[in-house]
């Protein structure tokens, strides 16, 4: 297993201080089909050798196509999935192997904002109960009524009228529901929020509002974000750095502008070409489709080769024989490619 030498957070806002979250050589397996009827299920490696640091108050955008493992990475950091290999250190504590009680305690510091604001709020709970729930669960208040003032404060924080406190979520629009979800995530004053495509289910017109709100909250409360998205244009707006995932591996990680202006990895370049350009005079060239995603069986077989080598224009013999490791290119750029 290759591990990163040295710190990865150089050039980020809080460089020098200890990072809030460091992930080293993380691997996650899912259960695959059984080889024998009574045998144990085979393992499919969905995340392989992921390493990064996240500073306090920083936003790291995680970008990749469907199935690249970006949401899985978020859930692994939340410790909702078993870790097959590697280490996760959060706020100075190793959280790689936590018992159930420890994982529940961890939820005070790491919270999550979900993709779908319609199904992530219990339809039978009022706004008050929804937002007060984390406070009740962690024994901060006895009942939702006791938390009424705190909840009202949280509603103000996310720019929702306080009169809505006794309403059920079905009367709200998607953007408003997502604000409720954000208020709920904020209730425990977490240090890290994992945002799993928080705006992709929203109307384009309200995406900016929600993203701006998240930025304002970050400036006010000093939260770090792990911002998962498949859409580079939203991510560019909010992220300090961006990590590109491809089939369970990180292929490139760099500062926001560096990625956009000088994509190093061929896959990053392909993704960027797919972003629609509003000004017809600035064409980036025709988007090329990335190579088709492999079926589950193929993923297991891939073994040594670079997972992008099949559809990559720059692929050489070396790419097909040996998977590239992340190596440092420049002050704040890491790339996993032999040819870049």
């Amino acid at each position: 297993m290759t591990h990163f030498p040295g710190p990865l957070s150089a050039g980020t806002p809080a460089s020098g201080a200890a990072p809030l979250l460091s992930v080293r050589g993380l691997a996650v397996d899912f259960d695959g089909p059984r080889k024998k009827i009574w045998g144990p299920p085979s393992k499919i490696r969905v995340l392989e050798d992921i390493s990064f640091d996240l500073a306090r108050g920083e936003t790291l955008g995680l970008v990749g196509e469907s199935g690249s493992g970006k949401s899985t990475l978020g859930r692994a950091v939340l410790r909702r999935l078993p870790i097959a290999d590697g280490r996760i250190v959060f706020d100075g504590k190793d959280i790689t192997h936590l018992p159930l009680a420890g994982r529940r305690a961890l939820s005070r510091d790491i919270q999550m904002v979900f993709q779908d604001p319609y199904t992530s709020l219990n339809p039978r709970m009022k706004v008050l109960d929804l937002i007060a729930e984390p406070l009740i669960v962690h024994g901060i208040v006895e009942s939702a009524e006791e938390a009424r003032d705190r909840v009202a404060e949280l509603l103000r924080l996310v720019n929702l009228p306080v009169e809505n406190i006794d309403r059920f979520p079905h009367g709200f629009s998607g953007g408003q529901r997502q604000r409720i979800g954000i208020a709920r995530a904020l209730a425990l004053r977490p240090k890290l929020i994992i945002a799993d495509e928080p705006v992709s289910a929203l109307d384009v017109s309200v995406r900016a509002q929600v993203v701006n709100l998240m930025q304002d909250l970050q400036a006010e409360l000093g939260i770090s974000y792990l911002f998962v998205a498949h859409d580079l244009s939203i991510v560019r707006h909010i992220s300090d750095r961006i990590a590109i995932l491809h089939r369970g591996r990180m292929v490139e990680m760099a500062g926001c502008d560096a990625i956009y202006d000088r994509p190093a990895h061929p896959y990053t370049a392909t993704l960027l070409k797919a972003v629609p350009e509003p000004d017809p005079r600035h064409r980036r060239g025709t988007p090329t489709a990335p190579p088709p995603a492999p079926r589950i069986g193929e993923l297991v077989m891939e073994g040594g080769a670079c997972r992008y080598s099949k559809g990559c224009a720059k692929a050489t013999e070396r790419c097909r024989a040996e998977a590239p490791v992340m190596s440092r290119r420049g002050r704040d750029r890491w790339v996993a490619c032999w040819e870049a």
Binding site: L78, R80, R104, A105, S107, R108, Q111, M112, F114, Q115, D116, T119, S120, L121, N122, P123, R124, M125, K126, E133, P134, V137, H138, P161, E163, N164, D166, R167, F168, H170, G171, F172, S173, Q176, G181, R184
Partner: protein, 322 residues
């Protein structure tokens, strides 16, 4: 969406006192005519069951050979002595009807509650834990379902001896599986919904998740199932009593009376018609009331109903204005 608009929807007005809640409940119920009628009939049946000794004109078990098969009071040969006539042993049908409500309601509700709570509990555990626990529980359910219900019941009653409590336990014993299957299925599909994951991420333990997040969302389907089951149990009670394994004479139940009256059906329609009507009307009333309750317990459905009501009102106003 503005704050003033949100504030004008009345369903969410806070109602602190319990009696005000009861008043609100009746006010809301009275808007749905069918449900209100069903509710009234149910109240009537419950009152009849509770106050049967005060209301019944005769001892329900008192036989009178001279007054056998007297028709109801409003027919040519009827008398005011027996308003709904008498059965083949000269027992007063009305008195038996009032006392019979006791047995039927008691057996129906206690079986549904007993079987329901046991079945729901197992279903919750099975659906939420999954894996080996789920496999074991579901295989037990399969065995119970595969076993012929009547045979099991006969076997148990023969072992313990026929009586009303025995019947309740035995019926619960052979009717809990359907709750487990229903609840397990819903819980399994609910486990993957984001709001359950959100609750887990917030730090909720399994107990709180089941109590606060899963169970309230199970109320509408469970209500529907429990009511269907209640009617089933009423009929099962009748069947058991008919076979002599349920309510024992001199006790009465609607099912027992139907079973007894069946043999005289062509001679006298009344001993079988009135308990039959009682069962049918009770079942119908429960259905009407439960349908309303199901909608009322769902906040989204409730608001839709409110909106429909407003729309109807507006249309009527518009029509009145020309």
């Amino acid at each position: 969406m503005t704050a003033t608009h949100l504030a004008t929807i009345p369903a969410q007005r806070p109602r602190p006192a319990v009696f005000r809640a009861a008043g609100g409940f009746l006010a809301e119920l009275s808007k749905d005519k069918a449900a209100f009628a069903g509710f009234l009939f149910l109240v009537l049946v419950v009152l009849a069951a509770v106050f049967a000794p005060l209301l019944a004109p005769h001892d329900p078990a008192a036989q009178s050979v001279l007054a056998r098969l007297k028709p109801p009071a409003w027919t040519a040969r009827g008398s005011a002595e027996h308003l709904l006539g008498t059965d083949m042993l000269g027992r007063d049908v009305l008195s038996r009807l009032l006392y019979g409500a006791r047995a039927s309601l008691l057996v129906g509700t206690s079986v549904v509650l007993l079987a329901g709570s046991f079945g729901v509990l197992l279903g919750l555990v099975s659906g939420y834990r999954g894996g080996r626990t789920d496999t074991v529980i579901m295989r037990v359910v399969d065995v119970f379902v595969a076993f012929p219900g009547l045979l099991l019941t006969l076997l148990l009653v023969a072992m313990i001896g026929p009586s009303t409590p025995t019947m309740i336990v035995v019926l619960a014993f052979s009717n809990w599986m359907i709750y487990t299957r229903l609840v397990r299925g819903i819980v399994m599909s609910m486990r993957t919904t984001p709001f359950i994951e959100a609750a887990e991420v917030l730090g909720c333990g399994p107990r709180r998740i089941l109590q606060v997040h899963v169970l309230p969302n199970l109320v509408p389907p469970l209500l529907t199932l429990a009511i269907l089951e209640f009617t089933n149990i009423l009929l099962a009670e009748a069947a058991l009593s008919f076979l002599g394994l349920g309510v024992q004479p001199p006790g009465t139940s609607w099912g027992l009376d139907i079973a007894n009256g069946k043999n005289y059906m062509l001679l006298a329609w009344w001993p079988i018609t009135f308990p039959g009507l009682a069962i049918a009307l009770t079942v119908l009333s429960i259905n009407l009331f439960a349908n309303w309750l199901r909608v009322t317990t769902d906040p989204a459905e409730r608001e839709k109903r409110h909106a429909r009501g407003r729309l109807r009102l507006l249309r009527r106003k518009a029509a009145a204005n020309g």
